[in-house]
């Protein structure tokens, strides 16, 4: 939503503040994994609202379909069978962009304005500015962005930024038949999650909890997990995600310093020339050669 220009918190590859005089409410989507039945209505609603139709794939013998996020599937249900407390559990997690408060994709992106973070928390890709380098994939701690093979642009869940801009809930939230996907202010979602966690604990899931990882400054897509102590159970949800130190090193203070150092070398060379003068052949040697020639 390029026109929603007054509430941008961060903009990729931009070193001056973006327009953010208007403060908007911080929003969040809450996915209650314990209430999800794996119907994939959210996947269909996403495809419908965003007008993207992924290729019809093949059955891989599991419920996951498609098997992974793609440039045309911005959310997928990931199904995992695990044994917990001597019981078989079927864990279903709706995967997609987590809309980190500290987004690794935005940090890594070299194209100004290709990735923006609104002050409401949504991290949005503006494909018209995307150059297709894939640095967002390199930066993301959740392996979410996908580069389209058709146009070489990066795509991912927009948290329906266009709907949210006009006070509508994201399409997946609207479609969910069990209320497993909730949407509202981040504070409200945390309160709602706290109630769900209490309920789950009463039902014997003592480690139930909210997944709002602080390593990335918290997220604007949060999960209620029955096993919050083991997020990895849910198709490899990272326990302590953060922007890789390699990415921070790559995109941190080293580059401005290197730029200054390069400018220093260039200016140093100029002033060396100005102060020391050129290194010319000495008169003495020129005379020697002349004498040789005169012989």
């Amino acid at each position: 939503m390029a026109l929603q220009s007054l509430d941008i918190k961060q903009r990729s590859a931009t070193t001056t503040p973006s327009t953010h005089v208007r403060e908007t409410l911080e929003i969040a989507k809450l996915i209650d994994v314990s209430a999800c039945i794996g119907c994939k209505a959210c996947q269909v609603a996403c495809s419908e609202w965003n007008d993207i139709r992924d290729e019809v794939g093949n059955c891989h013998g599991v419920y996951d379909n498609p098997m992974d996020l793609t440039a045309k599937s911005w959310t997928v249900m990931r199904f995992t069978e695990v044994e917990q407390n001597n019981k078989l559990e079927w864990l279903i997690r709706k995967d997609g962009c987590m809309h980190c408060a500290d987004p690794g994709c935005l940090k890594a992106c070299p194209a100004p304005g290709a990735i923006v973070q609104y002050s409401n928390g949504i991290v949005d890709f503006h494909q018209e500015n995307c150059i297709g380098c894939g640095y967002c994939v390199t930066g993301c701690p959740f392996d979410v962005p996908r580069i389209s093979k058709e146009d070489n642009k990066a795509y991912k869940c927009s948290l329906c930024s266009d709907r949210v801009a006009v006070n509508q809930a994201p399409a997946c939230v609207k479609a969910c038949p069990t209320g497993a996907i909730q949407f509202g202010s981040k504070e409200d979602m945390k309160d709602y999650a706290a109630k769900r966690v209490t309920d789950l604990k009463e039902r014997g899931y003592e480690q139930a909890g909210l997944y709002d990882p602080q390593g990335v400054g918290g997220t604007h897509v949060m999960y209620v997990l029955h096993h919050a102590d083991k997020p990895n159970l849910y198709a490899g949800l990272p326990a302590n995600p953060s922007i890789s130190p390699l990415v921070s090193l790559w995109k941190g203070f080293a580059k401005p310093l290197a730029t200054l150092a390069l400018a220093g070398v260039a200016l140093g060379s100029l002033f060396h020339y100005v102060t020391k003068g050129p290194n010319e052949v000495s008169k003495e040697i020129e005379d020697e050669i002349e004498k040789e020639d005169a012989k």
Partner: protein
């Protein structure tokens, strides 16, 4: 410019052409690479037909530079073996930079500084090529940790190389009578006697 028939031949046409291909590709790579290095340089993408074209072209230019540098590496490797005299030269380099070359040991075709440059560039070229392939998403999809390491190494080695090339180019500008060797391959006898006396004696027999 009329050239003296007694001038000394320093480079064959093939060697000069090779150096120019490396040089041109380096300049294009530095400009396009800096565009993605820091937002301050992003406007450089306009030199290459826009940001997306810059992203597309940069790695192919990299392949060109890798191949042409490899050829140059094998061409000049045997001339760049470090000797004790080179180490002595390097230890006295500060005097040279200060404008006094009277105490510098006699040098062959290349001095210690040029040889050090050669080997640092060779290592950086290797690092650039390997890390560049790791982050070339149009063709490859390596493990994410490798890609992240590739991104760091590519940026770091690139910055080192650009700094080294500034020194390389400035040295050629500073030492008068040098740049013509790159254009048409010859230098004056006086130039050779002053800066590379060992090589001067070798090629003139004096």
């Amino acid at each position: 410019m009329i050239r003296d028939p007694k001038d000394l031949k320093r480079y064959e046409p093939k060697e000069r052409a090779n150096h120019w291909v490396v040089g041109i590709s380096f300049i294009l790579l530095a400009l396009s690479g800096l565009a993605f290095f820091h937002p301050a340089f992003y406007p450089l993408t306009q030199l290459f037909g826009g940001p997306t074209w810059t992203r597309i072209l940069h790695p192919y230019l990299g392949v060109l530079m890798a191949v042409s540098f490899l050829a140059m590496f094998f061409r000049f490797k045997h001339l760049n073996k470090m000797t004790p005299a080179d180490k002595e030269w390097l230890s006295k380099a500060k005097q040279m930079v200060d404008g006094n070359d009277h105490n510098m040991p006699e040098q062959g075709k290349y001095n210690g500084g040029q040889k050090a440059m050669f080997w640092v560039m060779a290592i950086c070229m290797l690092l650039m090529t390997v890390s560049g392939l790791l982050i070339w998403r149009a063709w490859f999809g390596f493990d994410i940790t490798l890609v992240r390491m590739g991104a760091v190494v590519h940026a770091a080695a690139g910055a080192v190389m650009i700094g080294m090339i500034f020194v390389h180019v400035y040295a050629a500008i500073w030492v008068k009578g040098t740049i013509r060797a790159m254009w048409y391959g010859t230098v004056t006898r006086a130039w050779a006697k002053q800066h590379h006396r060992g090589w001067y004696r070798q090629v003139t027999g004096k």
